[in-house]
């Protein structure tokens, strides 16, 4: 049995091990991902994004429990930021996900962003594929706490859930370009707080101002009020997720998303493999000499790169 076979057979330790190899871009990771690829494409991939402290982790805990109650298995990939100084990270999302610990149908993995700035990590796409291949019905991806423009999650998932909380801004904030544009479902969490009614009206207004997308079959973003701690509104959120999944599958969204991810995966692999094979053929001494010449302004990086590539092929 290979590690990939173990993952497909539902071995949780093998799954955890493969996620580490993929995250470290270990030499054997590519072969494992290749073996798993045909088993991917089944899971409903859901991105959960929003500002730090909006309640993403707590909401995932409640939502995953709700999904488990309806019989779906659930994997969570929770991403937190890495330090730009030490490269270290404190990954604390599990603290809020205690309801999932003892559930054999749930799996939670923390991931550091490792310098990526789009709200997810460089290895997130591959990690999602591994969890998908492992057979989970839903994969919930929690982004780093985001500001206004970390939108990378939209290319990775079928459904984007944006978590808002009362007190985060007025209606002008809500009509700005950015993260609200990629949301399929907007959650107003902490819906029990004093200013929740005002925030709900603000968001309703902002969503109503959105130009209806072309075609009668376009999805209109849904707004759901929740209080994740007391688990209020979670059933409504699950219903909205299911409605969006049905909409995506019956329309073009699901297939489009698969195509977008397939292309992104191929392009990034090509880039990686071309670069690696090119650099392997360039002796370090020659590279150092060229770099010194460029630094001394006797050569320029643009035509040098073109010449090197021409000589390579």
């Amino acid at each position: 049995m290979t590690l990939a076979d173990d993952v497909l057979a539902g071995d949780r330790r093998a799954l955890a091990r493969v996620l580490t190899l993929v995250e470290r871009a270990a030499p054997e990771a590519r072969e494992i991902l290749a073996a798993l690829y045909s088993a991917t494409g089944r899971a409903h991939l859901v991105g959960i994004t929003g500002a730090p402290g909006a309640g993403k982790s707590t909401l995932i805990n409640a939502l995953a429990a709700q999904l488990r109650a309806s019989g779906d298995t659930v994997a969570v990939l929770a991403i937190d930021p890495s330090s730009v100084f030490s490269r270290g990270a404190v990954l604390g999302d599990r603290i809020r996900m205690q309801d999932l610990v003892h559930d054999a149908g749930a799996f939670v993995r923390s991931m550091a962003s490792r310098g990526a700035v789009g709200g997810v990590a460089r290895a997130s796409a591959a990690a999602i594929d591994v969890l998908d291949a492992a057979g989970f019905d839903r994969v919930l991806i929690e982004t780093v706490g985001v500001g206004q423009s970390e939108l990378d999650i939209a290319a990775l998932v079928h459904t984007v859930v944006l978590v808002e909380a009362p007190g985060l801004g007025d209606e002008v904030q809500a009509i700005k370009a950015g993260v609200l544009e990629i949301a399929d479902i907007v959650v107003l969490n902490k819906g029990d707080l004093p200013h929740a009614d005002i925030a709900l009206r603000t968001l309703t207004l902002a969503l109503s101002l959105a130009q209806p997308a072309a075609g009668a079959a376009a999805w209109q973003p849904r707004l759901q009020r929740t209080d994740a701690l007391s688990k209020h509104g979670i059933e409504g959120l699950r219903a909205a997720l299911d409605a969006h999944r049905t909409h995506a599958r019956e329309g073009t969204r699901w297939a489009e998303q698969q195509a977008v991810r397939a292309k992104a995966a191929l392009v990034s692999e090509l880039r990686e493999q071309l670069y690696t094979s090119f650099m392997e053929q360039l002796p370090p001494a020659q590279l150092a000499e060229i770099v010194a010449a460029i630094a001394a302004r006797t050569r320029d990086p643009y035509s040098t790169a073109r010449h090197l590539l021409a000589a390579h092929s």
């Binding site: 949780r12 955890a16 270290g88 990954l91 604390g92 599990r94 610990v101 799996f107 993995r109 923390s110």
Partner: protein, 137 residues
């Protein structure tokens, strides 16, 4: 690729609510370049071991200030063994009498850190213990 970063689980087993020490350690390990998974208060040994398995950590750090270390730490070690994770190094921090610390080390704990241990000493010991581990496949 770059040298792989250590992934460490920091957990507080049992019922004491004093987590300042665990947070100081989590922060210090972060600043030493490690990825620290912090699971919060009031964890059972089984919860800690399940988290260690899912997160595929290189080491587990337990913070115990309740005096129940002679019960909780062996329970974590046994649960790790039972799940096939007996090779994951376990570190203990807290108020542990020297006799108890020796007994815990004899049961398989890699190191016990008492009050006053500097964070740089903790980092040095953890890095050297993890580096001595045979590579896992």
């Amino acid at each position: 690729m770059s040298r792989s970063q250590l992934r460490v689980l920091i957990a507080k087993p049992g019922l004491d609510g004093h987590d300042r020490g665990a947070k100081v350690i989590a922060r210090a390990l972060r600043d030493a370049g490690m990825e620290v998974i912090y699971t919060g208060l009031r964890q059972t040994p089984d919860m800690i071991v399940e988290a260690a398995l899912q997160e595929d950590v290189d080491a587990v750090g337990l913070s115990v200030l309740s005096g129940a270390h002679n019960v909780l730490v062996p329970a974590v070690l046994q649960a790790l063994q039972a799940r096939g994770l007996g090779d994951v190094p376990v570190f203990v921090g807290g108020i542990i009498p020297e006799d108890d610390a020796a007994a815990l080390r004899a049961q398989g704990v890699s190191a016990v850190f008492g009050p006053g241990t500097s964070t740089s000493e903790i980092i040095r010991v953890m890095e050297s213990v993890v580096a001595d581990r045979p590579p896992v496949n």
